[in-house]
Subunit: 351 residues, 3 copies
Amino acid sequence: MPASKTSSGHFFEDFRLGQTITHATPRTVTAGDVALYGALYGGRLAVQSSDAFAKRIGYPAAPVDDLLVFHIVFGKTVPDVSLNAVANLGYAGCRFLSPVYPGDTLTATSEIIGLKENSNRKTGIVYVRSAGFRQDGTRVLEYVRWVMVRKRDEAAPAPADHLPRLLVALEPNMLGDACPALDAAAYDVALAGSPNRWGDYAAGEKIDHVDGMTVEEAEHQIATRLYQNTARVHFNQFTEGQGRFGRRLVYGGHVISLARALSFNGLANAFHIAGINGGRHVAPLFAGNTVFAWSEVLATAELPGRRDVGALRLRTVATKDRPCGDFPLKAGDADDPAVILDLDYWVLVPR
Amino acid sequence: MPASKTSSGHFFEDFRLGQTITHATPRTVTAGDVALYGALYGGRLAVQSSDAFAKRIGYPAAPVDDLLVFHIVFGKTVPDVSLNAVANLGYAGCRFLSPVYPGDTLTATSEIIGLKENSNRKTGIVYVRSAGFRQDGTRVLEYVRWVMVRKRDEAAPAPADHLPRLLVALEPNMLGDACPALDAAAYDVALAGSPNRWGDYAAGEKIDHVDGMTVEEAEHQIATRLYQNTARVHFNQFTEGQGRFGRRLVYGGHVISLARALSFNGLANAFHIAGINGGRHVAPLFAGNTVFAWSEVLATAELPGRRDVGALRLRTVATKDRPCGDFPLKAGDADDPAVILDLDYWVLVPR
Amino acid sequence: MPASKTSSGHFFEDFRLGQTITHATPRTVTAGDVALYGALYGGRLAVQSSDAFAKRIGYPAAPVDDLLVFHIVFGKTVPDVSLNAVANLGYAGCRFLSPVYPGDTLTATSEIIGLKENSNRKTGIVYVRSAGFRQDGTRVLEYVRWVMVRKRDEAAPAPADHLPRLLVALEPNMLGDACPALDAAAYDVALAGSPNRWGDYAAGEKIDHVDGMTVEEAEHQIATRLYQNTARVHFNQFTEGQGRFGRRLVYGGHVISLARALSFNGLANAFHIAGINGGRHVAPLFAGNTVFAWSEVLATAELPGRRDVGALRLRTVATKDRPCGDFPLKAGDADDPAVILDLDYWVLVPR
């Protein structure tokens, strides 16, 4: 009888420091994916929505939304990295390195850059640097994430501990590779939906994005399958109904995309996510919840050698069933259980 | 501190007679949008469904469904015109002026053509002529709508009353600009699904479209986001749950598209909506309701100088949770609370 | 007054042996359809997902998923064949004959190859050979199905009984026409997601596909409309709520596509369905149920004259709300009411 054909994913003791994993499945991103992504979140950024607008400022065509690229690459890593994960612990150093256009095919790899067994010997933390590539080999995205992964066998010897050095935040000179040189004067703010350019934002400014979006089971399932993300907690009510929450968990990336779409109201010209410094999913989201969001400008920065665009470092916080007019946080004295996401990232805005 | 970045929309006293508003967001319509639109309503018109069929009769390719064009243009007007609307009061003079194909980019403008403060001084009626344009500046669609909009400040002085003259109905010579000259003999009625050409319909004829379609929350939300329509009543259960209906309202245009798709059974060759004379959403639709529809042929008309197609003026009535075999109406003695839509429009049918 | 425009479908006494029906609506399959199909089921086959991968092994582009082609052709036959069906009784001899790519337009015909009135004289069985065609007339798909159809009038004379001879199973020499000659060495098993090639499978091997997928009303409705399948039991809660099950039935083809997508875990290189020998929907599926699946390799076969790919004859069984680790069946002593699908088909796998 041949060996079992079904993959049960990797366990902690299966990973080796320095190991590189080639992930299935290569994926050509099409206008169909872009349309569906748009309809799932309702984004309204002019650059991603209009070929005509994108060409006028210097793109060859409307680029694929940064987060759609992220989710597709992330989805590929799930069967190899996090199928047996207990928790997704963090992200760091996520950079968008080259624009992706409909017709491009994406593949992904992950390098194991850190391993640390937990003291209970039942789990360990795996640090991976994942990267997405275009069909010509160009690196379009990279990020580090760390996850807590179960051991198959508690008694199995674990690899020696190795903790990688992680970036706390990307520096401005590490941003912008996925944004071609633009003609900022040709950027039509009326068509884009807001008069505010880079210079109109200041560090410390807080923006309530006002609107709320209720999530349905069909929506997050369709989205997560669009990314070919197979993590079972999102799809299997039979099993999850017997689990900790009694229901399916919404993919954390779905929350990020919802918050990003809501942030149009206040950040209509923040057309490109250049990098993600870090992010935490501080509480789970379920279907039926309504997502709200607010953002704070943590810093503004020029990009070395560029006069077309500037960067804003943003902290975007999303909540469930709680409007954000008073800027709630999951931290310290103001600890608010409605907060579900706390994301620290850089966006580019025309100058 | 910079000024607030979040838009709260325009209030009645913000509008000026003659003012023209350029709306965000330009949008390239793709094969992805067309596929999703099809899957949301299940339309089966051969012309929109098949490049081969469309080319055989004289189109360069399958045109984008008229109502998808309408919804995309309409969606753009929402943040500027109706974000603070109390009610969408009516439509008039909607004409489709040029066909739209996948790859075309749509933009929209609205001109304020009428203003009238209500006697309570809390609201006023705003009349706008909205238009959609292709990337080359060609006007593809125009329509008038009027909405009741809140005042920000009751004490604010209102502009002088001005009521525009509105068309009761489009004349046949105003129809057909979006339909190229066709080879009606090459129109294959077997492939199209019905033997009935223009000459087979007569004024006064009533058609029960028989089938019913149940609406789900995920469906109308995906549809309304596909149109980048941000009206909050469609998406935010947290807020709407505390409101008048206790739940999210389905976008009125979703009802129109459902009724149009249902009308295939009886009107399979009515391949093009040439214009909409007027329409009323006479009751709200909610997820879980099943939509039915029936139509009456109000008039038949030749188009001046054209032998390829003729026009039918139709009244299509949609209901919720009520089959339409006895042709219910929301009017007079037969007033039926199940009626949700009463639409008066012109379609073209091959001769 | 003109005759009724609404079609009520064909009844048993309307069919004639040898009759050929041309079905509406021709349909151009686009990248949009492909994206939506992917997001509805979450398939991860490299060949269908990536133009780059498909080209490397010898396809001109990523082909459209076989089952999407099947569902589109099947959907066209519904208004003419099964609108008045009591039950869909079986399939036989389904062969995929030519690959379909985005941009191709599909049409369908059905030939009546058998008729048999039931002894109650209220219904009869109609056997049809349906076929799908590309715009150039190439036959891309054919299959036989038989359905029990109501009579309009019990007293109507029925045609003479005629039972067609049906294939129990396709022979290996009848497979592979829709698969071009491939460079199996260029097939990258790491990218495809599994090391197992054709020679790694053996007759008798059973594979639990492990994962489960919960179905939502919006999902199966969107899918079934994507196929322009108008069978009313899938869409109309108002009517179905008063019927036998009290709710909408999920289209049987939706179950097949779910089982196919789940089978990736264990059959990642079974990239092409070459034919379907037969299939039975042994119990209905409803929204809220979670679908699981397992497969048995019934046989392995070489394709005459081909060294690039080999065939596996599979039996895939799907269940609702029941994991498949113990390989449940709807038959004999082990009769399991959770089984919903029992499908017998041939797949191709690289050698």
